[in-house]
């Protein structure tokens, strides 16, 4: 299967899953933004995404996307380190025009994943998971309060969003490059769109987290 056997194929898998996750993250940010306006509306969305079959299916697909993206990330990194050889350079200099993020995608990804596990225990493990097991769950705002009323959450989340910004700012245009949709003009365009997209997502999340902390903790 060329998607797993060839280097470009593996990168295509990374790209497609990556873009899918970018879309998810974007929707996530938008849905949270609803809470900025009305907590009732937010609760309605949470309920809608509860234990319904389409929400469960969506969650499974999403989990699959994450799993594939993460597994391939480790496989690629392992292969790439092997390709680099056993001897490392004594002096390394990052050339101009090379983004720092592009050379640290795995580290950034691990940070994103680490905080995401925390985030899942704070929300998903208390919302969709118990509901699936037939237990009673509270509305979304309850868990928002439970989480953001603790002050340490905000800085951790902000670091998380920053890592996400770096990860997306490279990953987004990189995906389009891998999918062959770039040329001399479009490389710079994708890079620009990439930065904008990552920034919008970052700002949305950051504003939301700050607002919730202010609202629930202060």
């Amino acid at each position: 299967m060329w998607l797993t056997n060839s280097s470009v194929g593996r990168k295509v898998v990374m790209s497609v899953t990556g873009l899918f996750l970018v879309l998810f993250v974007t929707f996530h940010a938008l849905m949270n933004a609803v809470a900025l306006i009305s907590f009732e509306a937010y609760d309605a969305i949470c309920e809608f995404l509860g234990a319904n079959w389409y929400a469960v299916l969506g969650t499974l697909i999403l989990a699959g996307g994450f799993a594939i993206h993460i597994i391939f990330a480790f496989i690629l990194t392992f292969q790439n380190r092997k390709a680099r050889g056993n001897n490392r350079y004594a002096v390394n200099a990052r050339p101009k025009n090379v983004e720092w993020a592009s050379q640290n995608m795995l580290v950034l990804g691990i940070i994103v994943l680490g905080v995401m596990v925390l985030h899942l225990t704070q929300f998903w493990a208390k919302m969709q998971l118990p509901e699936l097991m037939g237990e009673h769950v509270m509305n979304g705002t309850f868990y928002l309060r439970a989480t953001f009323s603790q002050l340490w959450v905000l800085p951790v989340y902000l670091i998380w969003f920053a890592a996400l910004w770096f990860h997306i700012s490279h990953g987004f245009w990189s995906a389009f490059q891998t999918l062959g949709t770039a040329n001399d003009k479009w490389i710079t365009r994708w890079q620009c769109i990439s930065k904008w997209w990552a920034s919008i997502v970052f700002i949305l999340f950051a504003v939301e987290a700050c607002y919730f902390t202010w609202f629930f903790a202060l």
Partner: protein
Amino acid sequence: METNISFKLKVWRQANAHAKGRFETYEMRDIPTDTSFLEMMDILNEQLIEKGEEPVTFDHDCREGICGMCSLYVNGHPHGPATGATTCQLYMRRFKDGDTITVEPWRSAAFPVIKDLMVNRNAFDQIQQAGGYVSFQTGGAQDANAIPISKEAADEAMDSATCIGCGACVAACKNGSAMLFLSAKVSQFALLPQGRAEAKRRVKAMLAKMDELGFGNCTNTGACAAECPKNIKLSNIARLNREFLCAKCSD
């Protein structure tokens, strides 16, 4: 204007492919700044021979930036700090008195060290052999002007074909990927009507060969294009991906 500089030279020495390498430090005194980097290495070698020691082995040939033989990793950059130039086109006026200059071989699993700073880049030949050509018999060609090719396409193909196969892209890449090299070759043929007939077969065969030889996966860091002495562009890699995806999807 010409001046003389003195500096420390840290050079990787390795007796052969299997020996363990190490850095040796040499004091270089009063080197004129209009000496080329490789001429400076020649001066070092003369000094070593005078002392009865073995000279530093490194690849070099044309010394005008076109053969692609020279391959030194100088101060953290393949071909040194100058952009758009090979090691042989690097002049000592780029360095300052009192500097420490570190010289290493290309480091990549696919480019094993032969001796000191010399590496084996045979893998590049193998990638080319897998499909980097147009298949026809000598003498069987039609008139050269029979197929018009737009100036834009010809110029772009020429830009891709400028690749000298030095391996700086692989040396610069933290993934040890040869995608820039491969994409330059694939692009040249993909852009010309002569190369279209077997474009699909070519891209699949060459990519498969590259993967087989143990090069890494491209993560689009762009270090290859930033360090390329011939300014081969990153858009070639997108074209390669496109060609490959189209070829696979039409299987």
